[in-house]
């Protein structure tokens, strides 16, 4: 029983740690940005969460990024509101919005809220630049940061024995 629980815990850690290629970590950060910016009473936030779970992005990076950008998002509300208001007020899109609003499930996204749509637009616009930036930063800073972090027990547990061996250059 204890072994089973331990294995499950290890699996959970592995899932959270996920794949740790620079692309996967950078994509986790970018998706975390989108999720973090969008208000959580919108279905958009949960759809992106589902997407994070469905792909092999780094969940730890995505989670930390979500937390950070959720905090930052509250300061960006005025900008998001302006952008959302602009988009929702476009006459050319009005029929599209009306059609969307009348479809099932879509109203749960609260896309007709200026902050929700504005945050989504901002998140989608920043998705690729953040991905690129995160990738570059990771490649430059990861070795140094990892050396510093390895001193902590929690990081070592998250990293796992195999990765630890790889890190110190020994076959497991």
């Amino acid at each position: 029983m204890f072994l089973f629980l331990y294995r499950m815990f290890r699996l959970l850690l592995a899932a959270i740690r996920g794949s740790d290629s620079p692309q996967q970590i950078a994509f986790g950060v970018a998706l975390g940005l989108v999720i973090g910016l969008i208000p959580k009473d919108s279905l958009f936030a949960y759809l992106f969460c589902l997407f994070v779970f469905a792909t092999s992005v780094n969940l730890l990076a995505a989670s930390l990024s979500t937390l950070f950008f959720s905090w930052l998002g509250s300061f960006l509300d005025p900008i998001s509101h302006q952008i959302g208001l602009f988009v929702l007020s476009l006459e050319s899109l009005e029929s599209t919005w009306i059609w969307l609003y009348q479809q099932p499930i879509i109203p749960w996204t609260r896309f007709n809220n200026t902050v929700v749509l504005g945050s989504l637009v901002v998140g989608l616009i920043l998705l690729f630049p953040v991905y690129l930036s995160a990738k570059i930063i990771y490649l430059k800073c990861a070795p140094g940061v990892s050396r510093w972090l390895i001193r902590f027990w929690i990081y070592r547990q998250l990293l796992g024995r195999r990765k630890m061996a790889e890190f110190v250059g020994v076959e497991p």
Binding site: L11, R110, N112, N113, V115
Partner: protein, 579 residues
Amino acid sequence: MIKWKYVMVRLAILVLFLTTIHYGSGPVLSWALTSTTEWLTGSKLEIDQLKASPFQTHLTVGRVALTSPGNPMENLLEFSNGYLRLDRNALFRKKVIITEGRLNEIRLGATRQVPSEVGEIPAPKPVESRLLNDRLEGMGEKIVGGMTSFLTKRFDENFETVRFSKEMMDRWRGEYQVLMGQAKKAEQRVREIRNLSLALRENPLNTLRDLPRIEQAVRDSQTIKVDLNQIKQALRRHRVQMAKDRGEIVSTKNRDLQRIREIQVSGKLNGQTLSQLMVGKIHGRRVDQAIGWIRWLRTHFPHPEKSLETLRDRGQTIRFPGIIEEPDFLVRNLSLGGYAEIDERSFEFTGALVGLTTQPRRYGKPTYLHLQSTGDIGFNLKGMVDRTGDINRDRIIFHIPALQIAEQTVDVDQRVGLRIGKTRLEIRGRIELAGEQLTGKVTTVQTGVSMEMLSALDGRMASDFIGTVNGELASLRKFETTAHLSGSLDRPSWKLSSDLGPQLAEVFNGTLAEVYASKKNLLRSKLNHQTEEVISELGNLLQAKETLLVEFLQTHGQEVLQLNERIGALMERTGLRFR
């Protein structure tokens, strides 16, 4: 090749996530409902158990209690369990629409075992409506007080005839006493003369010796003659005077009769005043209760300005033109069943709540509440809350066709009361509130009434009055009372009208008039009797004394003449003469 490790882990997280949503929805919804209700109504909401899941389209809820604001020991409303069916399509469109549901074992105003935490919630102001008839307050008691004092009043000592006749009798007795005294003195002197005459007849030799006495007797007989003449004249005068006095007694009697005719009830009982006195307070309580209901509706039902949307302060929700939207929260039809209390009597009811929404303007229709009893007490209540326009409108229509009312006693006066036996009460009411303007009326009809007047009054007239009134009250079997409401919700006022007061006033006034007439007849006959008695007594006195005196005058008048002649003859025989 499938990476099972990867799939299994994400599947486990997904299952964990969905399980959390499934089992966590109930507590989260419970918290949301509690906080929202407390914010909307100002009352504490307690939910024991709520089962909800996004994978089901119904909610089941255990015991729910909405506390009474300001009263920690009372629940405004509570129910044992409930079932709510949600519209699935509406849920997909982010609308919570309860298509049908049922709340069971609802209790209104139930007492709590544990006090609720309502410290911050201000207690609602008790309804204190103002009776517009108030200017008449106290008049009923005053008039009835006048009636009771009249019923116990004594009149007999006030007859002038009685007083005058007594004086007259005393005077005449004195007059005849004087005459009889004079007659007796004359008789005494006659007796002396007679004795002298007899003495002289037996022994004429003494004539010389008794000459001075004889001389005196002759003079006395002259005086007696004069006295007897005076008595005769006095008798003649008295006869004339007594006829005048009799006339005077009759005049006095006529004045007394006039006074009796002028005796009237100091003030007639006013029906409206009496209605207020009899049913004002009881009806006032019912009116206040009904106003309390509509005040509750106005206070606790959602206002457009207090909708749930104001909770969201992030951004602006755009409404697209041309879309007819349903409200975010709507109860289409909710069946209700439970217990309530009216006039301290519990009854079971069923009902329905239709069109309850947090966005009434968007819904465009009022909310309707319909409650009806299923037990012995028939009860029907229809409520309407309209928040769709610029003016908030509330309306309640209620009808309780037959409510058994226990025996009650109403104190009319400190010494007079009215016992109303067990009756059947029908209550009808319609109260409307448009903006702040209150209108409507509450009518009660009491049938099968049996009334009895209770009295602690002494005296025959009072007991006659009570007896007659109770006889008349036996025919009063029904009365109706109506309160016409006006004013505002904060300053409600009402005007009372009832046919009880006029009916009672008719009985009281009629009986009082009868008792008065009877009393006046009694007084008249008593006066006539007393007067006749006095006049007859005077007549008897006159006759008796006159007979005596006339007989005396005749007897002694002749005797004096005879004595005079006898003494004269004696003097001639003896050859003596007076100087």
